[in-house]
Amino acid sequence: MHETNKEWLPGFDKKFAELTHQMVKDLEKCLQCGKCTGQCPAAKLSSYNPREIIRDLRMGNVEKVISSHELWLCFFCSGCYAVCPRDINFPFAVSMLRYAALAQGYGWEEVKKIKDPYAQDYYSTGLSVNVNERNLGVRKEIAKNSGTDGRIETVRRKMGLPPKRRVSERAMSEIKFIADATGMTDLFKEINKKKAKEKKWNYGSPADMVKVKKGANQKFIDVEDEEKEKIC
């Protein structure tokens, strides 16, 4: 049931020692009461279960957690923190665990999805949101509502604003400097190149595997079927 290696994976603990040790200490406070999961939006729709992830971490099943699909299901809504009787800031732990996953080669395909729309824009415009509306449907609605071509640039002009928000030259050069100096730029490049490791584990009780939850992630159910033997 449990991994034999009860330690944090090599490398990870060194790099994030300060943060992770505090985090693991925090997780020790968990009562396993389930209040977090009881209100978790992701748990409602999938086999994700914050309490179980904490349980696994406490039992030393670190690799199981960081190689799981479930790690990438958290909404970061902090609802779990808001109700937790021991004030465990679980979304923070998730964020750290995702770094741990990346350090071990898992989850790169997920951050790639994020990097493309947001990080790329940040690097080139200083903002993580682009003025170009990618969704044509939305553009059509805006066109209808505003009597324009539906582009935000046009609406902004109509409001007496420049077509898109200005970011100064100085600001651009500064954030590029920071990005280059601190390795952000390299990481962006790395994200493009990285090929994700295959995920090893997934959660979910046997009951979840038979019963497809309404609106639940079909993809995960498939995986669960394949992985059934491994878990039981």
Binding site: F75, G79, A82, L102, V155, I178, I191
Partner: protein
């Protein structure tokens, strides 16, 4: 923290730094103009700067950048406001969270702060940690009585649902202005402006953006979740839903369009940021509210609003 204590800690000044949110700028520009205009009416000058970029903290929590990279990026943005000697007003739950969390982190750990300042010194800036960072709810609630006294377009007979979003109330459960499970400040504000409240059960449920879920697991998690929330919201039949975060705004606004497009129901509740609502009630020029940039039309909303006002014989200021 009891509400009174937070209110006492909240300092109002006649000049504040308006921290422009990315979504607010390039998708819903009305947020920024409405803020500037309504604050002007209440005697507060909001200052912006082109040196301000995306807050930067966002990149950490989406794991596309290491905290070591984003810490200086966040500090740089705060430093821009510090150089002007202004406290920061944020319009976004995310900006507020990231700026606050990172500044606490640096203020509590002088060695981290020092390292960050070494990097900032190379671009000629310094992070001091001297200015306060406020969520728009804190400032607007503090202004409640001033707002009440200056309403020129009462919201009477208009029914509003509220959506507080996650990060401010949940993430700061010990220090936020209101209770994470049963907040009332927005309701109080709406009532102060003459509006009515449409209650619905899923008020405190996440909008579904989920910081990254809108990208990572859009179809499987984010969308079904938002749909569930919207169905519940629809049943309360509000004239509009009021939010305090541009990400929530984008999600609730745009996902309605998406669901309509897919034929998964009829969703047409306009989504309005609190600053736009205050600006509306205080009589700010309609163009500055930027309703035209929203996907869900304000046509019916404004029709009802206008008919009430023409009946009452009230005219735009």
């Amino acid at each position: 923290m009891p509400r009174q204590e937070v209110l006492e800690k909240t300092k109002l000044s006649d000049r504040m730094f308006l921290f422009k949110p990315c979504v607010g700028s390039n998708k819903y520009p009305g947020l920024i103009t409405a803020s500037i205009e309504f604050c002007r009416k209440l005697g507060i000058e909001l200052v912006t700067s082109d040196d301000q970029t995306c807050c930067g903290g966002f990149l950490t929590f989406t794991n596309v950048a290491q905290p070591t990279s984003t810490m200086p990026a966040v500090a740089r943005n705060i430093a821009v406001a510090e150089e002007m000697g202004l406290d920061i007003l944020t319009l976004c739950n995310g900006c507020h969270t990231f700026l606050t969390e990172f500044s606490h982190f640096m203020n509590d750990r002088p060695p981290v702060k020092n390292v960050v300042n070494v990097i900032l010194s190379m671009i000629g800036r310094e992070y001091k940690g001297s200015q306060d960072i406020y969520h728009s709810l804190e400032i607007i609630y503090k202004l409640k009585e001033r707002i009440r006294a200056n309403v020129t377009r009462s919201l009477s007979a208009m029914r509003f649902a509220t959506h507080y979003g996650c990060h401010y109330l949940n993430g700061f459960k010990k220090t936020a202005l209101d209770d994470p499970h049963m907040p009332t400040i927005m309701e109080e504000l709406i009532e102060a402006m003459g509006g009515e409240i449409a209650e619905y059960g899923e008020n405190r449920t996440c909008c579904g953006t989920g910081l990254t879920q809108i990208i990572i697991n859009k179809e499987d998690l984010s969308l079904p979740h938002t749909k569930m929330k919207l169905d519940n919201l629809n049943a309360a039949e509000p004239d509009a839903v009021v939010v305090v975060c541009p990400y929530c705004l984008a999600q609730v606004d745009r996902m309605q369009q998406k669901l309509n497009y897919r034929g998964s129901g009829k969703y047409r509740v306009p989504v309005i940021h609190l600053v736009q609502l205050v600006a509306l009630a205080l009589g700010v020029d309609m163009v500055k509210l930027g309703f035209e940039a929203h996907a869900i039309s304000f046509k019916n909303f404004l029709k009802k609003f206008d008919s009430i006002h023409s009946k009452a014989g009230v005219h735009d200021g």
